[in-house]
Symmetry: C2
């Protein structure tokens, strides 16, 4: 059996999306332009895609800017706002558990004259509202945080977070990275004072290489790249119409089935976590039990090394990833675990199980058996074993 549980990094592309992208490659190969019929069809395709995605967030279609993915959306949000508003202030807030594209963009801002403070999070990854309020000041031009943490699944209380920020400093721009939550955890932007939201196609069963940034119109932002543009002043380079059409199709499907998929994901996650905790002594859930995305469960298996577990599981047909090591071929420090105060052994025995709408009960039972088997193989030879 093959079971793919690395859906926080990338998801299997929906068959309907593959067909939509292939059709669009055949029909929308021109650049979006008013000077030809085929160019107008491309304009229409992009506008319809904007409408579809805007509909899922309850925002204005023309505020959807397409990018090459979540990383570019996050870079555009952070650097675009920081450089456009540096006359107003040079202070940026984020948390220490954000996606590397947020953390690394912040570190780049620090090298360029900005002050970046990291708001405290608690041991479950929830943002500390007192720390947030204490760090906010009149120079704070931007706060960037993730809706759902990509490693441990914590769902931030966005309403409270936004209230704290806007009460203290109305002009502070709020950016939310929704890559790990989009179409998986409800997000109605008409009810929140959020100024920018990053989305990623590859995380919602769309094609990779496509993302979006929703940009409200009440603040200044400048492009990160420069050139000529078809439809957006913020993002040069003619639109990747097939990728965008596929992204919108994936968003439409994901939003339509969100509730139903959430219920199933919750059931499967609960069964997975409960079974592993029962069958593997000393194992425990990292991240919150309540207020966690139904799709993300990060478990620590004390006696073994996460990388070794991932390789053993791969041998059994199960794809997972380890903790916050998002860096594929090169292993990075588990900065998320450090921030929530996890010890070395727990962090290094962590496995991230990220489900998708495609997973079944049968698969989950197979995964549990495989985890138990792999753990037993490895625990026997573990250096950690006392």
């Amino acid at each position: 059996m093959k079971v793919y549980l690395d859906n926080c990094r990338s998801t299997a592309v929906d068959e309907e999306v593959i067909r939509a992208v292939a059709d669009s490659m055949k029909n929308h190969y021109a650049v979006p332009s008013g000077l030809s019929s085929i160019g107008m069809r491309c304009v229409d395709a992009v506008k319809k895609s904007q409408e579809k995605i805007a509909g899922t967030l309850n925002v204005e279609p023309e505020n959807i800017v397409f990018t090459s993915g979540g990383t570019e959306s996050n870079n555009l949000a952070l650097m675009g706002v920081a450089y456009a508003n540096k006359g107003r202030g040079r202070h940026v807030l984020t948390t220490p558990i954000e996606h590397p594209s947020i953390i690394n963009a912040c570190e780049e801002l620090k090298r360029n004259g900005f002050k970046v403070d990291y708001v405290r999070v608690n041991c479950e990854g929830f943002i500390d509202l007192e720390s947030l309020e204490g760090l906010l000041n009149s120079e704070t031009i931007l706060v960037a945080l993730g809706h759902v943490n990509h490693v441990i699944g914590t769902v931030q209380p966005l309403k409270e977070v936004c209230e704290v920020i806007k009460d203290k400093n109305e002009g502070t721009v709020i950016h939310v990275n929704a890559a790990a939550s989009y179409t998986k955890v409800p997000l109605d932007l008409s009810r929140l004072e959020i100024d920018m939201v990053s989305l990623s196609s590859r995380k919602i069963h769309g094609q990779s290489g496509v993302g979006a940034l929703n940009v409200e119109e009440n603040f200044r932002i400048k492009p990160v790249m420069h050139g000529v543009t078809s439809l957006s002043d913020l993002r040069p380079g003619h639109e990747n119409v097939p990728g965008i059409v596929g992204f919108a199709k994936a968003a439409e499907i994901g939003f339509r089935d969100m509730e139903e998929n959430m219920v199933r994901a919750r059931l499967l996650s609960e069964r997975l976590v409960k079974s592993i905790l029962e069958r593997i002594p000393n194992s425990r859930l990292i991240g919150p039990e309540k207020g966690r995305s139904p799709y993300i469960s990060c478990l620590s298996l004390l006696d073994v090394e996460g990388e070794a577990m991932a390789l053993q599981l791969d041998f059994l047909g199960v794809t997972v990833s380890t903790g916050s090591a998002c860096a594929a071929l090169r292993l990075k420090e588990d900065y998320v675990f450090q921030a929530i105060g996890l010890g070395y052994r727990e962090a290094h025995g962590s496995i991230r199980f990220c489900l998708s709408k495609y997973n079944t009960l049968e698969e989950i039972d197979y995964v549990v058996d495989s985890v138990v088997k792999a753990h037993s193989n490895l625990a026997r030879i573990s250096v950690f074993k006392g």
Copy 2:
């Protein structure tokens, strides 16, 4: 009959490429990573794509960095080298006829403390080697120029250009934008002292949203965006494997058939230009007769307005674009024409015919008839007509 002649902006995607992208979407949906079998298949797919593209340029596969398109490649090249080398000098050279992503990135550099000089070009768009030599100095960290001009098709004498630059200042980094020439005009980088080359998938019958930058290893360059990366330190965000696989397939096909396609394109272009010049009085070729890409012919039809011609031709099924108005929905000044000294009337009557490997003799004859018909319709009501 439908004839697409706007191939300088975007090309029809090859059927083989569509299949390759669709297959890759099915098989390569994970992020490239050594921790799982599917991740390793993605690593392999990216590496094979690097090899294929490197083979067409005669460079090292690991120097191929994948991006989201030509615009990003150009931005990475210019800003990446400028910001990484500003300690050595803050002088950048380019020409006034480059693609907007080059010109606008240069203008951004000017706003950030760099001095940018525009090397003179002659009335056919060829770079003035004396002007180049005169402007080069010990502070010149970068020269950026296009191999083939995207509007008038001028093929720059890269060997001579590189010699002038490296003779005067060996440390100056040379960037060549090959978006309009790749797989269309030979470019063997093992025989030229070029440090960076930009490529675009959408211009060679690949999917849009993908590009590459070949980066030699003898100079410093820093990323424009920040985050986590699978395989390249210069470009964060996990690779768009299906897009990359499709790009490599398009490059392979294009390179394999380059000679044969060039011969046919030359034949068709000559027939197109000769027929229009014969049948429409006062029309003329803009750009060089010799040293021009066989795929690009820009013609000026004195008595009519280019935009109106494009719309009339579209009505007859023929897609073209007008001069340097690359900006689709918003019309930009014809800066390329200004730089080569073209008058207002000639510039505004310009039509760009950009062929691809798919065009046939029958199509070209239909285009000529359509141009004559559209011109006759418009000339009757033209405000230019004396």
